[in-house]
């Protein structure tokens, strides 16, 4: 019982996830700055931002629905933290693997997007409403390619459990190379899910001020930003577990370090995408997702089914 609580709250649960998400936010911002030839924030910046936001006054607008306004950030945090428990971090198995946990993790990661929409809708402010509608419009664009590209390697491995997928590719590492188109699609779709440039339309600062988070301040905004940081780590870990399941040593400590290196690679690619591209307009984004990303992810599923058939025969 005590061990379970330790796992859930300390490692690899809530506290560990908080620390590692702050570290990765720092890596993301520092890398972004260095690519732009600037120095970048010091090492304590994400923690300082979090503490500063907690200490500010939290204003709840009079016309907003007060209870939902306050409780939504907690849902976003809880969903991403729970999803993190099912990703293998130091070896081939996650903490509590079960068959079908890939689908459950993907569903858990949908909840933050819904909370962003609800946050904007219940704020009853013009800019927040516009932002909420954009969140939902964007959701319908990237969700299908994201799901299909992540389910592709699972189809090839023949199992719906993340630990099972990792196990399968650990035993047949070269087959992971057929998943490269799926990896590209997943990276673009992840950038859309995390709402970063080029897909940061819901939070387009120069167009609709704050987007869905216009009315949020103080500790509610702190929790939302923490949830966004959690999402970065969890999505990167999911991509690393499904697409890079190679070189997993049996020693847990080495395995954990390898996991961190893979996370770094994925975050580096996502940050490079953030730095090199401009923001798309919502109609351009929907065109791009449905005309380019979705067909490529379908192609990936087709390739995986064919390769599976070939292997079985």
């Amino acid at each position: 019982m005590a061990l379970t609580l330790f796992y859930i709250l300390i490692f690899p649960g809530f506290l560990f996830l908080s620390v590692i998400s702050l570290v990765f936010e720092l890596i993301d911002r520092r890398l972004y700055a260095r690519l732009q030839n600037r120095v970048g924030p010091p090492w304590f910046q994400p923690l300082a931002d979090f503490i500063k936001l907690l200490s500010k006054e939290s204003i709840v607008p009079k016309e907003a629905d007060s209870r939902i306004f306050r409780i939504i950030p907690v849902f976003a945090l809880a969903a991403t933290a729970t999803a993190f428990m099912y990703i293998p971090m130091w070896g081939l198995k996650s903490l509590y693997p079960f068959s079908g946990d890939l689908i459950v993790v993907l569903y858990f990661l949908t909840i933050p997007t819904l909370t962003f929409f609800l946050a904007g809708w219940f704020s009853s402010s013009l800019y927040a409403e516009l932002g909420a509608i954009r969140v939902m419009t964007q959701f319908f664009a990237y969700e299908v390619p994201l799901y299909m590209s992540i389910l592709g390697p699972a189809l090839l491995a023949g199992t719906w459990s993340i630990s099972g997928v990792t196990n399968y590719y650990h035993m047949h590492p070269l087959i992971a190379l057929v998943n490269i188109p799926g990896l590209v699609v997943a990276l673009f779709a992840t950038q859309g899910k995390l709402e970063r440039v080029p897909f940061d339309i819901p939070d387009a600062e120069t167009e609709i001020v704050g987007g869905t988070f216009t009315e949020y301040s103080g500790r509610f905004l702190a929790l939302f930003r923490m949830a966004i940081d959690f999402e970065l780590v969890v999505m990167s870990a999911l991509i690393a577990a499904v697409f890079f399941p190679v070189f997993i040593p049996s020693n847990p400590i080495l395995g954990f370090l390898v996991f961190l290196v893979k996370l770094l690679i994925v975050v580096f690619l996502l940050t490079l995408m953030r730095t090199a591209l401009a923001r798309l307009r919502i109609d351009q984004m929907i065109n791009f997702c449905w005309k380019v990303l979705a067909p490529f992810s379908l192609l990936q599923i087709l390739i995986d089914l064919i390769v599976r058939g070939v292997i079985k025969a």
Binding site: L35, Q36, N37, R38, L126, Y127, L130, I133, V197, P198, D200, I201, A204, E205, T206, E207, I208, V209, T275, A276, L277, A278, R279, L280, R281, I282, D283, Q284
Partner: protein, 405 residues
């Protein structure tokens, strides 16, 4: 989703300076737009009437931080016309050098701001990094990065040494290479081209009808540039091209500004090579004879007009400034309507708005009766004190802020 009215401004992350745009949205499309000006009105023209001609140079320079040399030079040209002064050639060359360096810094600033509006922060950082090179040169030549204080009635205040000229040439080489990279990037990066093309279209006939000036009009294919059409200073002796483009949208304006950057480098090099020796200032009288004068200048944003009326004393009788953004703003509602909400910030940024330049008083119309009213200083003060006392604020016991009133 039905229609809703969304305010863009006066405070908004997309605008550098406060101005109020009211958009009627239908979904993501803008059905109608209105503009309300006046948030940056500071009473500059009135303040000019109680300061001497030389003090007014510093006041008018601070109308705007980005085109400060344009306003100061245009004003000084009117006063020199009234006083009938013959400015030495070296002073005119120095004014042109600082004017072109200001154009370079303004266009690099615009490039960064355009990048920021479309969410491409990397372009912002890179363009402003190069702008730092220009600002360092300006600091070396004039003593300040923004409000240069280079002009005085009768010439300029500082001279340039040969070492400084060599430093300027070296920096121009670096900047030229970087600008060639930006030209390539803006035309080849697909996400930028998608955001900038087909947005904010202003065709030639509409541009001439609305009275647009500067890069906005040149992007529609009209080659109007005061430096060629009505040359002032030594621009008649310089060899350069007027940058035009046929696209007539925001993409065209970006191309025009980047081309103008390259032309400015050419002009700066010519100026430094051909600068004659000689004095940099002639003595100007402190009391300017009575008369009226009118002068135009090609500011980075378009055509800047100054008018001065003197009455024989050492303070002007009336100074009027028409900034280029006021002419371009008339076309804004035409460009925004029918487009997406996401395009509004980049369209506004594409006319390179400088609302500090724009807000001058034109006419006071009484809203209840529709009559026009001309206030003098005492009448305006009395009117405003009565208006505030109706709101419950009493100004009658406050002392005057200036010694003479």
């Amino acid at each position: 989703m039905g229609k809703m009215v969304i305010p863009l401004g006066p405070q908004h992350p997309a605008l550098e300076e406060p101005e109020s745009f009211s958009l009627l949205l239908q979904g993501e499309r803008v059905a109608a737009a209105t503009v309300a000006l006046g948030y940056n009105h500071r009473g500059m023209e009135k303040a000019c009437e109680s300061r001497t001609y030389i003090q007014n140079i510093y006041l008018l320079e601070r109308i705007c931080g980005i085109c400060s040399h344009s306003h100061s030079t245009c004003y000084v040209q009117t006063v020199e016309m009234l006083a009938g002064l013959e400015i030495p050639k070296r002073a005119l060359y120095l004014r042109a050098l600082i004017g072109e360096l200001e154009r370079i810094h303004s266009h690099l600033l615009w490039l960064g701001v355009a990048g920021h509006e479309i969410g491409f922060m990397t372009l912002f950082m890179y363009a402003w990094k190069d702008r730092e090179v220009v600002l360092d040169i300006l600091e070396m030549l004039t003593g300040n990065r923004i409000n240069y204080g280079m002009n005085t009635i009768g010439g300029v205040r500082r001279d340039i040494t040969p070492d400084q000229a060599q430093d300027v040439l070296k920096c121009l080489d670096v900047l030229e290479e970087r600008t060639a990279y930006y030209a390539k990037l803006v035309t080849e990066e697909r996400t930028i081209v998608n955001r900038l093309s087909g947005v904010g279209i202003l065709l030639k006939e509409d541009g001439l009808r609305f009275g647009a000036t500067g890069p906005v009009l040149r992007a529609a294919g009209v080659a109007m540039d005061i430096r060629k059409d009505d040359p002032y200073g030594i621009y008649a002796d310089l060899d350069f091209n007027v940058a035009t483009d046929e696209h007539a949208d925001v993409y065209g304006r970006a191309i025009v500004r980047v081309t103008e950057l390259i032309e400015s480098y050419k002009i700066c090099r010519q100026v430094i090579k051909e600068m004659p020796d000689g004095p940099i200032v002639v003595k100007a009288p402190s009391k300017i004879p009575a008369g009226e004068a009118f002068s135009r200048y090609e500011a980075p944003r378009g055509e800047d007009i100054h008018y001065t009326r003197s009455n024989g004393t050492d303070k002007p009788d009336r100074v009027k400034v028409r900034a280029p953004t006021l002419a371009n703003l008339a076309a804004i509602t035409h460009m925004i309507e029918g487009g997406y909400l996401a395009d509004v910030p980049i369209i506004i940024a594409a006319i390179d708005p400088c609302f500090s330049c724009t807000d001058r008083m034109i006419k006071v119309i009484d809203s209840s009766s529709g009559r026009e009213n001309i206030f003098d200083w005492a009448g305006l003060r009395k009117y405003s004190m009565e208006w505030y006392s109706k709101q419950g604020i009493d100004f009658k016991n406050m002392n005057a802020f200036r010694k003479e009133d």
